[in-house]
Amino acid sequence: MRIFTIKNSKVQTLIFTLFWLLIWELAAKIINEPVILPSVGQAIAALIEMAKHATFYKDVVISLLRVFAGVGLSIIIGIVLGILSGLYAPVYRFFNPVMSVIKSTPVVSFIILALVWMKTSSIPVFVCFLMCVPIIWTNVMQGIKDTDKKILQMCSVYKISHFRVIKDVYLPSVSGYIFSSIAASIGIGWKSTVAAEVIARPEISIGGGMYDAKIYLQTENLFALTLVVIILSFVFEYVIKNLISNFSKGRKAYADKSN
């Protein structure tokens, strides 16, 4: 078939995306019940309608800031604890049980617990942080453990200070692990933040809008808001990836030259 001979991957992505949208549209036509499955047009119309109100932007910005805070906090704490746990076995043993429990606990358990502990507007940030920090921690720690032992031996012979070993050997070795774990946590950060918003329902939030859509059976609104979350997650991930690659120009130069 001609479609498979198209070389340009962007064109392919576009065609396949349109194909799935078509499937959605067809299914909506067959079901013919917007409460169960609204059509693409209905979802977009709902989105345009929402975009006419200032509260929509407020919801989006506040939710975005929550994800930003939650992921940001998990990056800082995850990196610090990851480095310490990778370097010192007792630190690893100290944090490992907590991280293991967090990793296996369903996100709703934390949301419900947090409802008891704190005010509703802080819950999404807290839950996002809890979901992301084990990912960063695990990756950074693995990076530390995978750091070339021979380079570390060289550092010990030349009596390089601990500070410089961390800055010039461990951090560059771990940076790849940090980047991929940040990219992985952004998606999870969004999902957990919105889930926490739906249950905790802070005054201003995308999740609050989703809850309302469920109560009033406005399924097209739910689809529209989900679309917003997906787009924001993509944009967020894109921006972060670019920020990181600019931030680490030295390493990038090395990576480019080695290609």
Partner: protein, 226 residues
Amino acid sequence: MPIKVTDLKKTFSDNIIFDGLNIEFQDSRISCILGPSGVGKSTLFNIISKIESYDGGTIEGADKKRIAYVFQEDRLLEWKTVYENIAFVIADEKDVKHRVDEAIKSVKLTGYEKYYPKELSGGMRRRVALARAFVYNPDIMILDEPFKGLDIALKEDVMNDFYEQWKKNKFLVIMATHDIDEAVLLAYDIFILSKKPAVVKFEIDAKTMSKDTLESIIREHLEEAQ
């Protein structure tokens, strides 16, 4: 101060590397160690430079000394440039720029300061590792087959540069090599280690005889050590 290794014992699981090795490296001289692969040359170097522990015996003369070590592999930081790799070992000291420039000049890498290791040939990478050892101004320099991988013309060049550099400060040098020419050219003292557990098979003051005699004696003893 010489490095005096007395009754050194070292075992890796069931593999006895040293069972009472005695060897002494004189200060201000270049000592060469020859011997079959796997005889424990690198292990001895790792023990002297405190990378590895040992099971018994004593090592005198290496404590609190500045030790530079040129490993069998280059062990360069791939994310740092040539200049940064060399400056790395003296970053907290004085006069870094001048010292690094001198070291780069001594291994004939001027112009390559901003290159990354990945962009260099094997020979150039070895010269960066050598420059890193020189810039450190060591009391003791350990070289584990430092000229391996250099082509013949370059090897002579780098060896001569090494010798010129060394003459300025005359620190204690211990060098492992498989190459008899290297030993004949550079060594003051030559040790031949024989296999498992390693002992000093032969010790020779290289500067007391002609190069040809020295070469044939080494060859003879190396064959016996195999």
